[in-house]
């Protein structure tokens, strides 16, 4: 309870306080607003991929009178996809190195690791394009049957997420190279790293659930 006598005489219930001496208030959680924003967005994105994965699991083996063509699972090239999955997972390692280096103000290293991460991501996307093209040649297009629609939608959405991540990484590389983004804003890279790791984790789920589980 506040002191009764004091507030009864006070004309200003909420007058100047010690808090006003600080130019801005600390956040309630100690985390920055931007970081919580990314966590909240990723939480939401979990449900997006959850729904897409469920849809795929529901539809992958369903057949009807006019079903035609192979299912996606018939055409999987597990060794190939394992390699591209490994490449994507390694990009998480380089992402961590990028974040660490900007936190230590090692800008040249940060640039190197940002570019490496983007490159590894691009290799993954290239692999996906190669894989999709192969599927299409073997007669499995987006509209061929119900499992192909579900497969291309799920993996396509993941691919779009990776691509957006690459755009962000390249943008960061430009900003760091131009000197627009220094160690004082290391958290920006850290937040993009959160996104990047999330996209990688989603791929682990997709690879396990879609590719590996028969």
């Amino acid at each position: 309870m506040t002191d009764v006598a004091e507030s009864s005489t006070s004309q200003l219930a909420y007058g100047p306080t010690d808090w006003d001496d600080h130019h801005h208030l600390p956040t309630n959680t100690g985390l920055t607003n931007e970081k919580i924003t990314m966590w909240a967005f990723l939480g939401s994105d979990c449900l997006l991929f959850g729904s897409l994965v469920s849809t795929y699991l529901l539809l992958r083996n369903r057949v009807g009178p006019s079903t035609r063509g192979p299912t996606a699972a018939d055409l999987f090239d597990i060794p190939f996809t394992s390699v591209s999955s490994f490449v994507l997972l390694m990009s998480s390692l380089t992402m961590v190195l990028a974040v660490t280096s900007i936190q230590r103000a090692e800008m040249e290293r940060c640039k190197l690791w940002l570019l490496t991460t983007a490159a590894l991501g691009s290799i993954f996307i290239a692999g996906q394009v190669y894989e999709f093209t192969g599927f299409y040649r073997e007669g499995l297009g987006f509209t061929t049957n119900i499992s192909s629609s579900a497969f291309f939608t799920l993996t396509g959405f993941h691919g779009v997420h990776v691509s957006l991540g690459i755009v962000m990484l390249v943008t960061m590389w430009v900003l760091v190279s131009g000197g627009y983004l220094g160690p004082d804003r290391a958290e920006t890279i850290e937040i993009i790293g959160l996104y990047w790791h999330f996209v990688d984790i989603v791929w682990i789920v997709i690879f396990a659930v879609v590719y590996l589980i028969p």
Binding site: M1, T2, V4, S7, S8, S10, Q11, L12, A13, Y14, P16, T17, W19, D20, D21, H22, H23, H24, L25, T27, N28, T29, L31, T32, N33, E34, I36, T37, A40, F41, S44, D45, C46, L47, L48, S51, L52, T55, L58, L59, R62, V63, G64, S66, T67, F142, T143, N145, I146, S149, A150, T153, G178, G179, Y180, G182, D184, R185, E187, T188
Partner: protein, 670 residues
């Protein structure tokens, strides 16, 4: 200006060269006129615009409802064709849910949450504006369908495959799928922003369990939105891909499962029900204590039951699907969870009644609407529990009994609460009260019309009148109650016209000086928004309030004396802040509205021409980059780097040093 020179700005090159830090283009600077609204990032202006736009759609959705009722006034009505009827009931539901109640709640959330937690703005003011404009463009896009070949006609729940190209060949369902997608992005942006604001920007001392209940309920709603929206996003994507790109998700001849849409839709749809009602629960939890002059009975129980509704709301969706052949186990499980979720809701009702019990009741307009929420929602809640009983629900599904139920919870519940909020916070937002006499006419007309319109629907439903049918025959025996229902609908219209007249007359009176200026604390309020002048000054708080209690402002005014009796120790209007400080605020920006405009372009392109989509995507990416290169606050305007949560500049010799001391850690990446 010293401030700009001394401050490390984000676009400063390492070499020491500085580039223009205001982004690619000049930024808007207008403080008045239409530009001040179009490019504003002020949460209060954004809140008011949410409200204005939602009321426009309320009028439009109401007209749709009246057309439906005109058609059903007599047997074999000839006002509408069956096709027009389908479009109207689809768009009535879609409009009222997505373009009226959700944005009205967003209006209150945007305006009131920062005030209730003692903040200067939301966490990301530009993102806030973005949410508003995406919603505005989404609403316009959805309704463009009326001019481009007819509205959506598959019901607001749009069951696929019924909404596929085969059964709904017009472009209406495309507008539905893409329009809701756009509106969903708006809600998601707003949800993240408000979550961060409430979690991170509360005034010193305001722990989670000292937050006003309205803010609490808004927090729960934003989490529901955060997790529910992606599910309908996926459902709408599947539908759009089917319709636009010939995918096979709902193609039964390929083996599709028609239940897929129903599950996805209702996993979103049932949390959506709580998204619609919880803001109103929050509003009456504010008004009932104020007008009963008692603290809210069981504050923590109300908060926890609200959060419990938020959790349990995820486990009841299949009660919308009892007749779809789920099997006995599924039906029994969802039956049980649905009965169980009535418990926290009932707890709230009892808490509100106990709040009023023995209180010193003042029947002002906000109080009247709040009490009508408690009573009308209880009726709707009771018919809701009836649906939890699967055999009863099997009988009632797709009859007017269901229509009666959800209008009692959404109109009698959500909308009554929102009206309570309007009358309650009108002085805070605009500086004057709405006329009391006209307001009472409004209240009684709406309450009477509402019960006339939706009460008899219970009877019609039990008599077997099916929903969504454009006609009934004279031999069905539905004529009398249908006539009553239609008359009731027009009585509601009269009530709403009185409300509109009230707004205009009170506003004109205020400008002429016949309607008095309201003081800071007209209702003897309990929460922080009443500790600042009416209307709210642009910067909200002169000084950051330090909070020590639930209902902190009340405790500043009333304190126990030596005998433990509560005594008034200060007058709210006397101790309220004066609004005479001038802290820095975030600057307006063009980017939110430009970025938002890209979305309807993309969507129109998906329906008509992919080139348009390309243009939209370029605009989208371009404005994203323009946005992120623009600091949240224009340094040339002499403001601080951000105005969200910092204390005011005091007139002192060290004023500039404080600005300098600010680090770039909150650099704008929103």
């Amino acid at each position: 200006m010293a401030i700009t020179e001394e401050r490390p700005e984000i676009l400063e090159l390492e070499s020491g060269d500085t580039t223009s830090s205001t982004g690619v283009f000049a930024r808007p600077t207008n403080a008045t006129g239409w530009r001040a609204w179009l490019f504003t990032v002020d949460h209060k202006k954004i809140g008011i615009m949410y409200g204005v736009v939602a009321m426009f759609w309320f009028l439009w959705g109401g007209i749709e409802a009246l057309l439906i009722r005109a058609q059903l006034f007599t047997p074999n009505g000839t006002v509408l064709t069956a096709d027009q009827y389908n479009q109207l009931f689809t768009m009535h539901g879609t409009t009222m849910v997505f373009l009226v109640i959700m944005p009205l709640a967003a209006a209150f959330a945007n305006y009131m949450v920062p005030l209730q937690i003692g903040a200067r703005d939301v966490a990301f003011p530009r993102m806030n504006a973005l949410g508003l404009w995406i919603f505005v463009f989404g609403g316009i896009f959805l309704n463009l369908s009326w001019f481009l070949g007819g509205g959506p006609d598959g019901g607001w729940f749009a069951y696929a495959p019924n909404t596929g190209v085969t059964f709904s060949p017009g472009a209406g369902m495309d507008f539905y799928a893409l329009g809701l997608q756009i509106a969903g992005i708006a809600s998601l942006v707003g949800a993240i922003n408000l979550i961060v604001t409430i979690i991170n920007m509360r005034a010193p001392g305001m722990t989670m369990l000292r937050m006003p209940v309205f803010t609490w309920m808004i927090l729960v709603v934003q989490f529901l939105l955060l997790f529910a929206l992606p599910v309908i996003t996926v459902a709408l994507i599947l539908l759009s891909f089917d319709r636009t790109f010939d995918a096979n998700f709902f193609n039964v001849s390929m083996g599709a499962d028609p239940l897929l849409w129903q599950h996805l839709f209702w996993i979103f749809g049932h949390p959506e029900v709580y998204i619609l009602i919880l803001p109103s629960f929050g509003i009456v939890s504010e008004t009932l204590p104020v007008f009963s002059r008692k603290p809210l009975f069981g504050y923590s129980v109300i908060v926890i039951s609200g959060a419990a509704i938020g959790f349990m709301g995820w486990g009841v969706w299949a009660h919308h699907m009892f007749v779809s052949g789920l099997g006995p186990v599924g039906v029994a499980a969802f039956s049980a969870t649905t009965m169980f979720i009535a418990v926290p809701t009932g707890v709230k009702i009892l808490n509100w009644i106990a709040t009023m019990w023995g209180g010193n009741l003042r029947f002002t307009l906000p109080m009247m609407f709040s009490v009508s929420l408690v009573s009308m929602f209880t009726i709707g809640g009771l018919s809701g529990v009836m649906h939890a009983v699967a055999p009863a629900d099997t009988q009632q599904t797709d009859t007017y009994f269901i229509v009666a139920h959800f209008h009692y919870v959404l109109f009698g519940g959500a909308l009554m609460g929102l009206f309570a909020g309007m009358y309650y916070w009108w002085p805070k937002a605009f500086g004057y009260r709405l006329n009391d006499k006209l307001g009472k006419w409004h209240f009684w007309a709406v309450l009477l019309g509402f019960n006339m319109a939706f009460g008899p629907m219970h009877i019609l439903g039990l008599q077997g009148m099916a929903r969504r049918h454009s006609r009934y025959g004279p031999e069905d025996g539905f004529d009398f109650w249908n006539a009553v229902v239609t008359i009731g609908a027009f009585v509601i219209l009269i009530g709403m016209i009185i409300f509109a007249v009230n707004i205009v007359r009170s506003w004109l009176g205020y400008k002429e000086g016949t309607v008095p200026q309201e003081p800071a604390d007209p209702w003897d309020g309990r929460t922080l928004e009443w500790a600042i002048p009416s209307p709210t000054p642009e910067h909200n708080f002169d000084y950051v309030p330090v909070v020590t209690d639930v209902d902190d402002f009340w405790h500043k005014k009333y304190q126990p004396d030596a005998n433990g009796k509560l005594r008034k120790v200060a007058d709210g209007n006397a101790i309220a802040q004066k609004g005479d400080q001038h802290p820095h605020l975030p600057s307006p920006s063009y980017w939110p509205i430009v970025l938002a405009a890209a979305l309807p372009l993309i969507a129109l392109g998906l329906i008509y021409n992919l080139w348009l989509t390309g243009i939209g995507l370029v605009l989208l990416l371009g404005s994203m980059f323009g946005w992120s290169l623009e600091p949240a606050t224009d340094p040339d305007a002499g403001h601080g780097d951000h105005g969200d949560d910092h204390g005011p500049e005091e007139d002192g010799p060290d004023g500039n040093d404080k600005v300098e001391a600010e680090t770039a850690e909150e650099a704008p990446v929103d």
